[in-house]
């Protein structure tokens, strides 16, 4: 049981960390602010979610798991709102509209 939990935690934590690394690479490779935002907002929700679920499997105290749940719920609510506000302000000020895609 413990070994299974360890393996699942390792897989989740590694998935979250590799998602963060890929997003950091995308932050350099993409050429536009909103394209970079597309890469940067993935670890803000999914990476944090994966790491928190992996950490929650290692704790058997109810208070820690509850705090992890609250942290993830708050992040899932606030990260899209913050990204939307940033994208809106960037679009209204300065950045030209993106070219039409076929």
């Amino acid at each position: 049981m413990n070994v299974v939990l360890d393996i699942v935690t390792a897989a989740l934590v590694l998935a979250g960390a590799s998602l963060a690394l890929v997003a950091a690479i995308g932050l350099h490779r993409l050429g536009d602010t909103r394209s970079r935002m597309h890469a940067a907002t993935k670890p803000a929700t999914l990476g944090v979610l994966l790491c928190a679920v992996g950490a929650a499997l290692q704790f058997d105290s109810v208070s820690v798991v509850t705090k992890l749940f609250v942290a993830v719920a708050l992040q899932l609510i606030t990260a899209p709102v913050g990204a939307h506000m940033l994208a809106r302000s960037i679009t209204r000020r300065g950045a030209p509209p993106p070219p039409a895609t076929p």
Binding site: M37, P43, V48, K67
Partner: protein, 87 residues
Amino acid sequence: MNVTAWIAMVMLFGATVLTVWRTVRPGSGLGDRAVAFDMIVALIQCGLFIGAVLMGDGIMVDVALVLGLLGFLSAVTVARFVERTGA
């Protein structure tokens, strides 16, 4: 488990270095810096969760909770500033 957590920490460190470079490098605008800063907060949160596993202590989760709130507030503040002044 421990080894895997440390490997994930190293990967997060590399991602943080890349993101910090995007923040401080010349030529990136205020929007770029705000996006990169928002991502740095998320990376530190991931690191705090993994650190909680490594330490076996739940106190790191409180830090991550407060850090998430601060990151959201700073992102909203910078967004409103950019929208108002056009920097």
